[in-house]
């Protein structure tokens, strides 16, 4: 199963290679979607974890025991595609490449798998066709 999480690393947690442990010990595939580190707040990682339900649960327990904050990402982007006029303005701000437009048909394509829910499309769509959905 695949699930997305935000990991919050406290300031003193840099000494342990947690991603290595998740891969090696818990057989989890890790796709890092977004990473941010600040000297005041520590680190924040948006990841997609892929593994068995049991390994996922054990891996998350391991992280929590190491003081890493774990929040499941339940948000996803909703897109009213039927109303889209294919202007392409949203692609200007979509850097994960979930929203694309181009040759040959110049029709907007939305690949939800690539979406990191950065919410920039909510701002850049002139028809306001994107919204956030909360929940599982």
């Amino acid at each position: 199963m695949k699930k997305r999480f935000v990991f919050n690393f406290p300031l003193n947690s840099a000494d342990e290679p947690v991603t290595y442990v998740l891969i090696k010990e818990y057989d989890l595939k890790i796709n890092i979607l977004k990473a941010a580190i600040s000297p005041e707040k520590g680190g924040e990682l948006l990841v997609e974890l892929d593994g068995t339900a049991e390994n996922l649960a054990r891996g998350l327990d391991y992280l929590k025991n190491r003081g890493v904050g774990v929040d499941a990402v339940d948000k996803k982007i909703l897109f009213r595609k039927d109303e889209c006029i294919h202007c392409g303005a949203c692609t200007a701000t979509c850097f994960p490449g979930a929203l694309t437009i181009g040759t040959p048909g110049w029709e907007l394509a939305f690949d939800a798998e690539k979406c990191v829910v950065c919410e920039m499309c909510l701002k850049s769509c002139p028809l306001k066709l994107f919204a956030i959905s909360f929940g599982h």
């Binding site: 006029i85 200007a92 701002k123 002139p126 028809l127 306001k128």
Partner: protein, 386 residues
């Protein structure tokens, strides 16, 4: 012998269904193999199109007189202020007018909803006069309940437009979309080789009275658009290298198609209106064939820095590169994105092609040509005002 065709000859062919009508993109592809002389022999009409946000748009409306009458001085439609300074029951719905409490909704959306046939709440007030004693009213209107409603857009169909980027450290929210800091993205808003005034850059066939496709209806070019500028630098193909000429256009809103007109809102900028325009270019001679054969790599535009209030130029790019998804600015690779819909522009070019082929649309020669040698003035702030 060089090809020479008259409007009358082409219209006769259109009536008989024998005219060869192609889109500007089809002609641009032909140009890879044929000379302009050969294209001129084969093709009678070329359809061009654009579907983009055009802020300088709006509609005149005549509501009809209530009894007793009201001299409408303050008017709103669904809460959006519209201009009432034209007689008792005439008004102008400006596309960029915004609802005071909901700035994501405005004139562009009202115009779209009227085209869709939706009911709109009209509220109006006046001081009350001997001939118009009523002081206020509230009612519901639709496009069919009012007398006349016609789109009258002062500045549409820009001949070329800037590429916008942002070198500053902050996100800039503009009418050119969301521009990310430090040259992270760049936006453009022209359909390139399909764009109307890039296919007849000297406007030999586009002038006052030219019949056009306007938002799914037959409309007209009625005047040079505002900020009409024929003095911009041109490339070796005679195409202006930045935004130049414009069109004022008019058409019956009641006959328009909701697929080709859309209200829009740009984050922290405001409301606008997507307008669909298609213009047929008659191939009167070889020169016009050469113009319509123009290809995206032969059309350049200028890159401006919207992150700096003085808006400096940062270089130029052609439409082949812009449509590839990235261009180089200051040695960096910058992601590009369009703001006007090429997909919809193609639909318009094909729709107009179908009207022409079926003999439902004829060509009109301009009754007056556009001026030449025009420039655009800025606004001087006088009297010590800051």
């Amino acid at each position: 012998m060089p090809v020479k065709r008259s409007y009358e000859e082409i219209n006769e062919k259109l009536k008989k269904g024998t005219a060869v009508v192609l889109t500007a993109e089809e002609v641009s592809k032909m140009a890879a193999e044929l000379t302009p002389a050969e294209i001129a022999k084969k093709v009678d009409v070329v359809t061009t199109a654009t579907f983009g946000p055009m802020c300088s748009s709006g509609a005149f409306i005549n509501f009809g007189h209530p009894s007793p009458g009201l001299r409408m001085e303050e008017i709103t439609l669904n809460g959006v202020p519209v201009y009432g300074g034209v007689a008792a029951v005439d008004a102008y719905i400006g596309a960029t007018s915004e609802h005071p409490q909901n700035p994501n909704y405005g004139g562009g959306h009202i115009i779209e909803e009227l085209v869709q046939g939706k009911e709109i709440v009209l509220k109006a007030r006046g001081k009350g006069t001997d001939c118009y004693p009523r002081k206020e009213l509230e009612t519901v209107i639709t496009k069919n309940s009012v007398n006349e409603i016609f789109l009258f857009n002062p500045r549409n169909a820009y001949q070329n437009y800037a590429v916008a980027t942002n070198s500053s450290k902050a996100v800039k929210y503009t009418y050119m979309g969301v521009l990310l800091p430090e040259l992270t993205n760049a936006t453009y808003s022209t359909s390139g080789e399909l764009s109307p005034l890039l296919n007849d850059p000297d406007m030999r066939t586009v002038g006052v009275g030219t019949k056009i496709f306007l938002c799914g209806a037959q409309g007209f070019v009625v005047w040079p658009g505002t900020q009409f500028n024929t003095s911009k630098l041109k490339n070796d193909k005679g195409i202006p290298k930045s935004n130049a000429a414009t069109l004022a256009v008019l058409g019956d809103l009641k006959a328009m198609d909701p697929r080709f007109i859309k209200g829009a809102v740009y984050e922290k900028y405001g409301v606008s209106l997507f307008v669909g325009i298609g213009i047929p270019i008659p191939i009167l001679d070889e020169d016009l064939a050469a113009r319509c054969a123009i290809r995206n790599h032969e059309i350049e535009t200028t890159i401006f820095d919207y992150g700096d209030p003085s808006r400096p130029m940062l270089g130029s790019a052609n439409y082949r590169d812009l449509q590839s998804g990235e261009i180089a600015i200051r040695g960096r690779t910058v992601k590009t994105a369009p703001l006007s819909s090429l997909k919809k522009a193609r639909e318009i070019a094909l729709e107009l092609q179908s009207w022409l082929r079926k003999g439902e649309f004829s060509l009109t020669a301009p009754v007056a040509s556009f001026p030449t040698g025009t420039t655009v003035k800025g606004l001087e702030i006088k009297g010590g005002a800051k």
